[in-house]
Amino acid sequence: MSGPSTYQPQNPVMKWLEARLPIAGLVHSSFIAYPTPRNLNYWWTFGAILSMMLAVQIVTGIVLAMHYTPETTLAFDSVERIVRDVNYGWLLRNMHAAGASMFFIAVYVHMLRGLYYGSYKAPREVLWILGVIIYLLMMATGFMGYVLPWGQMSFWGATVITNLFSAFPYVGDSIVTLLWGGYSVGNPTLNRFFSLHYLLPFVIAGVVVLHVWALHVTGQNNPAGVEPKTEKDTVPFTPYATLKDVFGMSCFLVFYSWFIFYMPNYLGDADNYIPANPGVTPAHIVPEWYYLPFYAILRSIPNKLLGVVAMFGAILVLLFLPWLDSCKVRSSRYRPLAKKFFWGFVATCLLLGWLGAKPAEGIYTVLGRVFTFCYFAYFLIVLPVLSRVEKTLPLPNSIADDVLAKGKVGKAVAASIAVLFAFGVTLGGGSTAKAAEHEESPPSQDWTFAGPFGKYDRAQLQRGFKIYKEVCSNCHSLKLLQYRNLAEPGGPEFTLDQAKAIAAEAQIKDGPNDAGDMFERPGRIADTFKSPFPNEQAARAANGGAAPPDMSLLAKARSYPRGFPQFIFDLFTQFQEQGPNYIDALLQGYQDTPPEGFNLPDGSFYNKWYPGHSIKMPPPLQDGMVTYDDGTPQTLPQYAKDVASFLMWAAEPHLEARKRLGLQVMIFLIILSGLLYFTKRKVWANAH
């Protein structure tokens, strides 16, 4: 993207075009002939990975926007319709939701790489600042995207984040009203967030072009931090860097697919499967994981305005980094002290992230302040002082020399892995002690749908449906399901005639007819499951003031914390069955006499697993209550398990398709990554 191109077209058509619009020459000089340092390691592939993620987010986002409705009463359901009814809608939604997290993982690696190797130093200051601007835009885009599904966390996240602006003196309230377009977060807010969420990725793409332009003017930094001097120091971008990048992207896709197909809800919050309710705040408001360090900084300052200033300052300080660190040596490889402090800074960020997810009380507040200080001290004290006092190691004469002295790199990698491991153990030790204080969690059951090859047990789903129909449906609705779902593959798989018969048993309100009257008719399979109450007020009135929740998403909307080391293991074992475990335990968790000293309100029942233990629902199931025709024991534990399985299916009807496609995609990507690895090695064999 800089300087005249060396591109010499042979084809007459290309010659003609090149004389009028030198676009092929631009591509050639930017992505083919462009000289790239030959000692770049795999941390440098994250630039390409980020470009790929931006493209994935834009493409999946445009597709999702074709089916999404930005209106407060319809938004939540429209997302569920995408997941349930649109062809491959579940895939596109998982790609987009997990994609946001992957985007941030990649950007954090990319930023830390820049920090470690001093990629922000002269002459790359503008390149770095453009990167910080992209990061800020990403944060704004990610936040507004999270609001769109209009669940509880969407709504309350929007409320809390927009209220940050109320901290500014005099104009704060006016700014917040302006952001909302009303007196509270509401339909105008959702509409403008949708509009801006669609716009900002294209702004990001524009700034990315500037970022790449600036990169190609100054050239890439490299692990040695010395500028290329001769042609021996560089290799052409294609095929060397291209293949390395594609191999990196393919490996990253394996990691990404793990979340898309096996852990789609791991990075999200269960509360966001509850539709937004402006009257009830969830017990713990937690932002998405990628904002947690900044959230921790916000909360650690006891003054509202200063907290907001500190939070924004934590990002804005990055803009001044090129001048805060004036050390002439770029790479931390040759800065023994800076390297240690860098890893300390990484640990600080991770610990702040962990604190951001914890309640703001007791020891967490104290730790939050300590690490907030560490965060700012790194930029404002450590780096300026180090750049003046640190004795740096001798730099290699050239990049070619660096490539020859390769043994040391292995040592550096081993050292960083050791640091990470040590850090993990410390953190693990610290929070196991904490996890022990937690209340007991519901026991984990064996579910047929767990794990990478999980499938629903058809007979169990049919039994679960029977319990729903005979017991649950007297009070609970199942609004996101239609009778047709009962006959669809991957579910209870009733025959079409059975589903029609089940539908016909319900009297569905329809109309108006030609005379203008509403009338009732037998249900059809395209009808939604009939709700026991006409509206929420009626449900509330009939149930002692507590409306029975809709059960469509119950199995995904209920969860419990797993504690520190466990939640990491869960990522590998694909444990996602908190919801069914909770439902199963709740149905069996009633105790006739509450424990000593527990004050049970009138009209409530004591349940061991219900949050707060006082539940308005009387024990719904007893042994022998529902007749099973297939000889399955008619006991409460069996009922609980069957209905929990049924509700899991109701919440995730395409679970089987998801896991099946996941296996195919995983096998494919691993083969592709293997082939790319060998291809890359063959190509690079010439360069070494």
């Binding site: 493409v59 597709v63 074709m66 089916h67 319709r81 349930r84 009814d85 649109v86 062809n87 491959y88 809608g89 895939l91 596109l92 594609v246 239609q482 047709r484 669809e488 030609d514 059809r524 399979i525 395209a526 494919f668 990507l669 083969i671 592709l672 082939l675 790319l676 060998f678 291809t679 063959k682």
Partner: protein, 181 residues
């Protein structure tokens, strides 16, 4: 691809084995890219709820007097149900096929025993406007957009439209009730 691999290893020339690796990698990547496009195309097709909502509907014919018609919607398309007068039926039956642009007998477009009932999709086969019933020169339908004229059997007689108004799938469930779809 397997066969190709065997051939190249037998020739045991280093450059060809390398070429094979490049071709295999490229081919696998291309297959993956092509497969990844499919969900993005498929999502444009009607979703499951739209398909389910396109189930057959029943229409009561009793309120439609002779010489009158009603318009009902099935799968988002208007369906004309016309109770034809004996004169209209006679005209439709007597028209020689040689006069027709898209030859089709009236019998083929109605149900035996219910010849007075004409059920057609009310969408002009020219460019999709809705023809007006009981207008035009043929006692049938007239499309105001570009002047196509259909007769009392919904067959194209004049104007730019190429085909007759299509007859949707339907059947009589009783003498006074039809099921469309």
């Amino acid at each position: 691809m397997k066969g190709l691999g065997i051939v190249t290893t037998q020739s045991s020339a280093e450059p060809t084995r390398r070429d094979f690796l490049y071709i295999a990698t490229g081919a696998v990547a291309a297959v993956g890219a092509a497969a990844a496009v499919w969900p993005f195309v498929s999502q444009m097709n009607p979703d499951a709820s739209t398909i389910a909502a396109g189930a057959p509907i029943e229409v009561d014919l009793t309120p439609i007097a002779q010489g009158q018609d009603i318009k009902v919607f099935w799968r988002g398309k208007p369906i004309y149900i016309m109770n034809r007068t004996p004169k209209q039926v006679e005209e439709a039956v007597k028209t020689p096929l040689s006069d027709l642009k898209d030859p089709e007998t009236d019998q083929a477009r109605t149900k035996a025993g219910h010849e007075n009932w004409l059920v057609v999709t009310g969408i002009c086969t020219h460019l999709g406007c809705i023809p007006i019933a009981h207008e035009g020169n043929y006692d049938g339908f007239f499309c105001p957009c570009h002047g196509s004229q259909y007769d009392s059997s919904g067959r194209i007689r004049q104007g730019p439209a190429p085909l007759n108004l299509p007859v949707p799938p339907y059947q009589f469930v009783s003498d006074s009730k039809i099921q469309i779809g």
